[in-house]
């Protein structure tokens, strides 16, 4: 990733380059940093217009970007030397003056300079002048010069702007009580904030980029190269640090750093494990089981951590289906049929049992500000609760028997999935109904259509506006929908869809963006999640007992992880604080933790506590499987 220190010093392309350039090409005046005359630097005459014979890159463009970068870093002298040696200047004095005028608030001069900066059309010039006048107006208001501000409004902004409706918000700012109020209402940070700099960036779009180079242009190009390299790196799971991104080599993540090895098996539940949720601090994992209990496991962020049973929450009347940690991790919610239980995660004491739903609670989600949580149920209701467990609001009866729901992190939408409420009618003895449900050999509560009749139910994904509680999108899908998760940028919803598909829906456009296939899902509740750095991966359980992982954007199946026993892998959960660890749970009564095979992985994980660990121990399988026969011996 980086060169040893001594090689670095002797490297001619190191940052020490400018010393060499100075001493070799400038007249001998050893002091006078910054006062040295540029005269003695001879202009180098070069043939052609590109940087190499076989390159398409224009030399002038390239050198001007180098000069800009040098200036930005603070190598002013080197930049001046390069201008002299190359004969190119970063920008003309006119552009420099314009930049200075904007930053110093010399508005009249700035407007005059604008006339000579090649703004293409009249419209462009108008709009650029409008932006300058708007800044001027706001600055006058900020300093209490209301008369001058109104003068700008009437004589500059009003004539320039054709649409009076867009002027109205500006003119209403006159009513602001003080400068702080103005800045808040205008969404503007004042003359001494970044507003002039931002104005300059906005004006940039009207001025040809060859005249005024966009700020940090070289870094912008390098960032684009980095993004391209990341998009090529299908196992990408490295944090954005200089250690993982060198300009010297293309970025590629080591596939050994990908979590594909079972490093712990947690085996205490006495029946199928149905659901998993990590605490927000990544230190605890909660598991919900058919054995009517929830276990909070203490996992810790340390390499080779002590995994211990932190709490065993046993007081549930039925099997437990859902879990949700409060934002501060002090409360864990669990659902058991129509009951919701609130647990103190430190003491393991049940704070409250809520019985407001009449059918199975199928989804629990804390709202992003932590003020409460939302429950969804097979009784078609969505309820909003305070963090004290008191009902605050209700959606009433929705169109679907909810199987899962999630709230977008930006707090604008709620995505619910489920079956439409048009319940089926069973076949009549004469066989004239075509809505027969199937009857399985052992427990006929499955959801597959029978050969003698298809089900008439619709499976819907409904996107609600959280403020109005009105549906803004309703999509009818072909199969049972069992899980929904939202990406951290609030744009995508990940929906498990029987049979055998996972859909990625773009909530901004209302379109299906990706499909992931390979996993098996027929009649059971199988859940998936995003995972890894930037949520680059999609991982899901499967009825074939394996764990499936895809690259999110490219929808490539990366891995099929085996290890769980017979039955379904019901749910998966990626550690929110350790991008190289996730957990899966299965009908085989166990939970597995998955981590990279390489011990090195633990040092490169973006978790501080990993940094100081020695490299020798903690290789993949060093953890003993957790097997506990005597519940009385558990540690608290």
């Amino acid at each position: 990733m980086r060169l040893p220190e001594r090689e670095y010093d002797s490297n001619p392309t190191s940052p020490h380059f400018h010393h060499r350039a100075n001493s070799s090409s400038l007249s001998p005046s050893p002091k006078a940093n910054g006062h040295r005359s540029r005269g003695p630097v001879a202009k180098v005459e070069l043939p052609g217009a590109t940087i190499y014979d076989d390159s398409y890159i224009d030399r002038e463009e390239y050198i001007r970007l180098v000069i800009q970068s040098l200036r930005d870093i603070g190598y002013i002298e080197s930049a001046a030397t390069l201008e002299a040696e190359s004969g190119y200047v970063m920008e003309t004095s006119r552009v420099a003056d314009f930049r200075r005028c904007i930053l110093e608030g010399a508005w009249r001069e700035a407007e005059e300079a604008l006339e000579h900066l090649g703004v293409a059309e009249d419209d462009g010039l108008w709009e650029a002048k409008f932006l300058i006048s708007q800044q001027k107006y706001l600055e006058y208001l900020e300093t209490g010069k209301t008369t001058k501000a109104l003068h700008v409004l009437r004589n500059e902004l009003a004539p320039l702007h054709m649409d009076p409706e867009q002027l109205q918000p500006l003119s209403s700012l006159v009513m602001c009580s003080d400068a702080a109020d103005l800045r808040q209402k205008a969404g503007w940070d004042g003359a001494h904030g970044s507003s002039r700099r931002r104005l300059l960036v906005n004006l940039q779009s009207y001025i040809p980029s060859s005249l005024m180079i966009p700020p940090r242009r070289f870094v912008t190009l390098l960032d684009q190269a980095r993004l391209r390299q990341i998009s090529q790196c299908v196992y990408h799971n490295a944090p954005l640090t200089s250690r993982h991104f060198s300009l010297y080599a293309d970025h590629a993540c080591d596939t050994d750093l990908f979590p594909r090895i079972t490093t712990a098996i947690l085996q205490v539940h006495g029946d199928e494990v149905w659901s998993l949720e990590w605490s927000h601090n990544g230190k605890f994992l909660a598991s919900a089981s058919k054995d009517k209990s929830v276990i909070i496991w203490s996992v810790g962020l340390n390499r080779n951590p002590d995994i211990s049973l932190h709490q065993h929450l046993q007081d549930h009347p039925f099997a437990v289906g859902c879990l949700a940690w409060s934002l501060d991790d002090t409360i864990l919610l669990s659902s058991s049929e129509q009951y919701i239980k609130m647990w103190n995660t430190e003491t393991g004491i049940c704070i409250r049992t809520i019985e407001a739903h009449t059918e199975t609670v199928s989804a629990l989600a804390w709202v992003p500000d932590g003020s409460g949580f939302i429950s969804g149920s097979q009784d078609r209701k969505i309820n909003l609760w305070g963090s004290d467990g008191k009902l605050r609001d209700s959606w009433g009866i929705t169109a679907i028997r909810i199987t899962d729901l999630a709230v977008t992190p930006d707090f604008t939408r709620l995505v619910a999935v489920g079956e439409s409420a048009k319940d089926p009618v069973l076949p009549t003895p004469r066989g004239d109904s075509v809505t027969a449900p199937n009857t399985n050999r052992n427990g006929n509560n499955g959801n597959n259509p029978t050969p003698n009749g298809a089900r008439t139910q619709e499976h819907l994904m409904i996107v609600y506006d959280l403020t109005t509680k009105q549906p803004e999108l309703s999509v009818s899908l072909g199969g049972q929908l069992t899980s929904v998760k939202i990406s951290s940028d609030s744009q995508y919803a990940l929906v498990n869809h029987a049979p055998d598909e996972i859909h990625l829906w773009d909530l901004f456009t209302g379109r299906l963006a990706r499909k992931y296939t390979g996993q098996r899902q027929g009649r059971h509740i199988i859940r998936s999640c995003f995972g890894g750095v930037d949520g680059n991966f999609v991982v899901s359980g499967s009825e074939d007992g394996n764990v499936y992982i895809w690259h999110r954007d490219r929808a490539i199946l990366l891995d099929v992880l085996t290890g769980h026993g017979s039955g379904s892998v019901n749910s998966v959960a990626w550690n929110p604080r350790n991008a190289q660890m996730f957990a899966s749970c299965s009908d085989d009564f166990t939970i597995r933790l998955w981590e990279p095979s390489s011990g090195l992985a633990h040092r490169t994980a973006d978790v501080q506590s990993h940094e100081s660990e020695p490299g020798g121990k903690g290789k993949g399988k060093s953890r003993e499987p957790w097997v506990e026969d005597d519940p009385a011996s558990r540690s608290l």
Partner: protein, 110 residues
């Protein structure tokens, strides 16, 4: 077995489990009211949902020998009746694959 939600039914009359109101079947699915179970009157149905079926065993009934399985509510586990796997008498073959639910263990849920 994995996790799944219970089925919900619609119709003029939906019968549910007396103890937990889990939907079981509808009046449209009823074949006969003329049966008797351990708790008195029982009904024969074409189809029943949300039940777990026990192991098959042979039972001598008033109408002859049958292979049947007990059926239990999938939520609360109450024994609700049985399912006919096989009828040995030719005249009773119509019951194969059908379900008996005890009337006293049922409740109208709609």
């Amino acid at each position: 077995m994995g996790m799944s939600y219970r089925r919900y039914l619609a119709g003029a009359r939906v019968y549910g489990c007396l103890s937990c109101r889990t939907h079981l079947t509808t009046i449209h699915s009823m074949i006969s009211r003329a049966f008797n179970g351990q708790h008195g009157r029982a009904y024969l149905f074409e189809d029943v949902v949300n039940v777990i079926e026990g192991e098959p065993n042979d039972r001598q009934m008033t109408t002859g020998n049958h292979t049947v399985r007990d059926i239990y509510c999938c939520k609360c586990g109450t024994t609700l009746g049985w399912k006919y796997d096989k009828a040995y008498e030719q005249s009773q073959k119509y019951k194969e694959g059908k379900y008996i639910l005890e009337r006293n263990l049922l409740v109208d849920v709609q």
